[in-house]
């Protein structure tokens, strides 16, 4: 069984996002970039499955400009077997539908039975690509996964989903797509020997034009605004008791 892990390069979530006044977009010039944290969790889960001998190969896929290769190398350094890089000429405004179509092509080509991906990317917070991919491929879908267990016969997975009313347990038949939530696992660090090995692992480059997909934008960003650096409504409390009393005073409990 092959596992595909689509990953995204995003602005490092620990840095302060700034809006470029001209472009009205988040300014990425010289910004520190990193793998989307939910994608790291997806990579970790795929590696665990591979280490339990339930998967034959783990393949990371990312779509973007040349710099995206760095993010794929990080996945390879964490332990993924090989990478597929879908190359775009410039920072195209690719939207979840486009990504879903490209990924669907790759999943079909690789005949992958399992796709593990982040529930959303922390830059645009769309939370759509996994769902669209499932629709395009007609694969089963589990979103917001906090637990993942492959069945003994390898034909289905049992997943726990974090939903508003609690934890929901479901069985998904393969082939399937799961989008992962924060509490699924703790991603490993790339070890030094694996970092050194990453460069010699296979990384295939595919031009985006070779997919014959209409990538014209369906959604237009009207404006982006910076959130206040200091939320004056917020207050830090020291204990659960203090939190309870504060909330009681506000009349929200």
């Amino acid at each position: 069984m092959k596992i595909i892990i689509p990953i995204k390069r995003v602005l490092d979530p620990y840095t302060q996002a700034r809006v470029n006044k001209q472009t009205q977009l988040v300014d990425l010039t010289n910004a520190k970039m990193a793998m989307n944290p939910f994608c790291e969790i997806a990579v970790e889960e795929a590696l665990k499955i591979k280490e339990s001998n339930a998967a034959s190969e783990t393949i990371a896929v990312s779509i973007g400009t040349e710099k995206t290769i760095d993010t794929l190398r990080t996945a390879l350094a964490m332990g993924v077997d090989r990478a597929i890089f879908v190359k775009t000429d410039s920072e195209l405004d690719l939207q979840p539908l486009h990504l879903g179509k490209i990924l669907a092509n790759i999943v079909k080509r690789e005949e992958a039975q399992l796709v593990i991906m982040g529930k959303q990317a922390v830059d645009n917070d769309n939370n759509q690509t996994g769902q669209i991919l499932s629709g395009l491929l007609d694969y089963s879908l589990g979103t917001f996964i906090s637990k993942f267990q492959l069945s003994d016969d390898g034909k289905s997975v049992e997943v726990c989903r974090e939903i508003d009313s609690g934890i929901e347990t479901r069985q998904l038949n393969l082939p399937t797509i799961v989008t992962v939530d924060l509490r699924l696992n703790e991603p490993r660090y790339a070890s030094l020997p694996n970092i050194m090995k990453a460069r010699s692992k296979p990384l295939e480059t595919i031009e985006i034009s070779s997919f014959d997909i209409d990538i014209s934008p369906r959604v237009k960003v009207i404006s982006v605004e910076e959130s206040g650096t200091k939320d004056r409504a917020s207050k830090q409390v020291q204990s659960a008791e203090e939190l309870f009393s504060e909330l009681s005073q506000l009349g929200v409990l």
Binding site: A34, R73, T74, Y189, A190, L192, I195, M196, A198, R199
Partner: protein, 385 residues
């Protein structure tokens, strides 16, 4: 000129900084308060470092080390340097001088030290031989196949953790055009060798949780097979292998200064006095500008020296400039950071007071600032002699 880092180097920085933040920072307060690192904690940190390939990264791959070039090693040292010194030292970078091991010394000392099965310490300094290290009184006299060692060493770091010491002792005197000069030999001496004892050293203002010791040798007999390098040529291997240690000191200072600057910047951006954040006062903001500039200047000097070393062309002056600039920069940055924070900067709630205390030893060990200036000026003036 190429100033960007490779993707491997970026990833190594990410791994080491995550390791430092998640495995070392949480224990800092306790170590600073107790001046002690629990053995089980040290063992657990060591195992995690070994599993991640962060142990002995300065040693060649062929012996099981990480095989990092000097530049990449400095990037790693910078991240490790941010943490309490005792905690970061558990992620050992064994003394490079072990590369002078030969024959059975390789399997007995070099390889087990790289694997983390043995720990080394290095003994050169004596109460009356600091910067003038060749004046050492600890002596080794040949008696058949054995050297008989007598004398004592002090300020010997982490001898409590060590399984053996790389010892420097005077093995004779030679006449030179400038008068009599002691000949120095280096030895590998196991802890527990009869006649060799370790006593607790002094309490230092710097580096809590990381201790120094006094080593005493009283007719300690060491077999000639324990000589590291050649007899009477101890300083040759010291000069060959210990130069890069100065870059490690420099790189760790960069990391600490970065941490101090970050704390000071966040404070200046949020602390309000007289109705505005104090960073809006020029008196504070100009301090930040100078701190940042000094840090970058020291970083460029250090990384350039490291790059030269990776190319096999680092001069003594390169290493001296990096060590001198980085250690003195840290003095300025940690002092100014405390000035920006005011009273809070002195309290042990924040790592600033510790960075300020710790910086002091950096200007002294591995060659004082004055010795570094001597090395730099000698390289300028020698052509005219």
């Amino acid at each position: 000129m190429e100033f960007s880092l490779s993707s491997e180097q970026e990833m190594i920085i990410d791994t080491v900084s995550s390791f430092v933040e998640q495995e070392l920072y949480p224990h800092e307060d306790e170590v600073e308060k107790t001046n002690h690192i629990d053995a089980s904690l040290a063992e657990s940190i060591k195992q995690k470092a070994i599993n991640l390939g962060l142990y002995a990264t300065n040693m060649p791959v062929k012996y099981g080390g990480g095989g990092l070039d000097t530049l990449t090693l400095c990037l790693l040292e910078k991240e490790l340097g941010k943490a309490n010194f005792g905690l970061q030292y558990i992620v050992a970078r064994p003394s490079n001088i072990l590369m002078a091991c030969k024959d059975e010394q390789i399997d007995k000392y070099l390889v087990p030290t790289i694997r983390g099965e043995k720990v080394d310490c290095l003994a050169m300094t004596e109460p009356n031989a600091g910067s003038d290290v060749r004046s050492m009184k600890c002596r080794a006299e040949l008696d058949g196949e054995y050297f008989v060692i007598n004398g004592s060493k002090h300020f010997i770091s982490h001898a409590d953790m060590a399984d053996y010491v790389i010892l420097f002792a005077a093995s004779g005197v030679e006449e030179t055009s400038r008068g009599a000069k002691k000949k120095i030999t280096s030895f590998l001496v196991d802890m527990g060798t009869p006649g060799f004892s370790v006593e607790t050293g002094y309490n230092s203002v710097s580096h809590r949780g990381y201790h120094n010791f006094i080593l005493n040798f009283d007719n300690c007999r060491v077999h000639e097979s324990q000589v590291l390098g050649e007899v009477d040529h101890g300083f040759d291997i010291a000069n060959e292998w210990l130069g890069a240690t100065r870059l490690s000191v420099a790189a760790m200072c960069l990391g600490r200064a970065e941490r101090a600057l970050q704390i000071a910047t966040e404070w200046a951006a949020t602390r309000e006095q007289f109705g505005q954040t104090i960073g809006k006062f020029q008196g504070v903001s100009f301090k930040l500008a100078d701190m940042s500039m000094e840090l970058q200047a020291a970083e460029l000097l250090t990384l350039r020296a490291a790059w030269n070393d990776s190319q096999g062309k680092m001069t003594n002056s390169d290493a001296a400039m990096a060590k001198l600039k980085a250690t003195e920069m840290l003095a300025m940055v940690s002092d100014e950071a405390i000035q920006i924070l005011g009273g809070m900067g002195l309290m042990d709630e924040l790592p600033l007071e510790r960075i300020w205390r710790d910086h002091r030893v950096e200007r002294i060990w591995d060659g004082t600032s004055e010795i570094q200036r001597h090395i730099i000026s000698r390289s300028l003036l020698r052509p005219f002699e």
